[in-house]
Symmetry: C2
Subunit: 218 residues, 2 copies
Amino acid sequence: MRTVDPAKHEAKRRAILDAAAGCFAMKGFEKTTTAEICRAAGISTGSLFHYFPNKRAVFVGIFEQDADETAALLAAAEQIEDPGEAILQVITHVSEQLLHPVIAKLVLEVAAQCSRDADLARLIQGNDRALRDGLVGLVTRAVDAGRIDPGFAPKTVASWLVALVDAPLSRVILEPDLDPAAELAVMKELIARFLRPVLSISPPAGGRVPDTGEISPG
Amino acid sequence: MRTVDPAKHEAKRRAILDAAAGCFAMKGFEKTTTAEICRAAGISTGSLFHYFPNKRAVFVGIFEQDADETAALLAAAEQIEDPGEAILQVITHVSEQLLHPVIAKLVLEVAAQCSRDADLARLIQGNDRALRDGLVGLVTRAVDAGRIDPGFAPKTVASWLVALVDAPLSRVILEPDLDPAAELAVMKELIARFLRPVLSISPPAGGRVPDTGEISPG
DNA sequence: GTCTATATAACGATAGAC
DNA sequence: GTCTATCGTTATATAGAC
C-alpha cells in the first residue's frame, strides 16, 4: 500500500518553487544558497534534494509553470471578438505582471542566466515564442479587420509587442517610485499609435509611411 | 625619483577592464573568477588587486566609463540643428551598441546586479538619467518646433525613448540570428509614429488622441 | 610592481539515522 | 520522507619573495 500522495508531493514542490522564487529575485541565482531556499520553504537542507536534483532545477522549475499560464491567457484572448481588444488584453496582463518589482527582478535574472545556459534559454525562448505566436494570430485578425496598419508583417509586430512589455524593466528596478498605472497608460498609447491604420489617402507599402515632415525613420 | 608612469598605470587599468568585461558578459559576475580575469588580461592573480581593491570594483569600473561616453554623445547631438534628427542620432547610437550580443549580455547582467547592490544601482541610475535628461532638452526643442506631438511631458517621452532601446535586449540574447539593421528600422518607425504630431483638427490634450476607432489606450 | 603560494571561508550535495 | 552532520570543492584576497 503506497502511502505517497502525489497531490501532496506536487503541492510541496510548488511551495518550494514559490519560496525559491522570492529568494532568487532578492539575491540572484548564484548568491541564494540552497540553505536559504530551505529556510524560506520551511524544510531542511536534505529535503530539498528529494524534490529537485540540484539548485538549477529549482530555478528552472519556476519558469516551467509559465507555459500553462501563457496558454490560458491566449486561449481567453482568442474568445474576444474584437482582435484589437484581445491584443490589448494580452499586453496589459503581461505588462501588469512585469511591473511588479519582484517579477521584474526575476525576469532580469533569468535573462542574464539564459545567455549562459542553453537549456534554460530554450525553455524561455519557447515561452516567448508561444506568446509571440499567439499574438501573430490576433494581429493577423486585426489587420484583416482593418483595425491595425498592415505596413509590417504580423510576426514583426508580434515580436515588438512582446519586446515592448520588457521595455520598462530596468526602470522598474532603478526607479522605485515608478507608477505602474502611468507606465501602462503610456505603453497602451504607444502601441495604439504604432498600430493605428495610416489615415492618408495612399495606403502604406513596404513598411513606409507618407512623409509628413516630422522625424523619419530613414 | 618616482618610476611610476600614471599613463601606463591607467592604460593597464583599462586593459584589465576590457578583459573583465568580456568575462563578465560570458559568465556573469559571480561565476567569473578573478583568476579568469587575470588570465584574460595577461597578469597574475596578485597583480589584479594592485589595480582594484576587489572583484566588484572591477565590475563597477566598467560602467564608470559610460558617463563620459554619454556626455560626448549628447554634446554632439546638441550641435545638430534639427532636434528630431538629434534625437534619432542619440537613439540610433545607443541602440546599435545594445544590439551587440556581448554588450546586451553585459547590460542584462548589470541590471540584475543593480537590484541587489544599491551603490551600483546609483551609478547606473545616474548614467540612465544623464541620457534621459539630455533627451528631455532635445524633446523640448522638438516640441517647440512643432516637430513632435506635445501630448506627453518631455520627461515622459525621454524616459520611454531610453526604455525603447532596451526593449529588444531579451531577443538579442534568445534569437541569435536577429538582424540588427531590421530591428533598428522598426524601432525608428515605432518612435516616429509615437512622436508624430497628431494630424487632427483639435490638438490633443492630456495625452489623449482623438478617437478614431482603432485600438485605444483606455 | 609582479609574481607564487596559501589562509580562510563558504557552498552544494551526500550519507545515513530515524 | 525528513532530518542532522559533514565532505569535498572552489573562490577571494593576502603574504611575502624578488
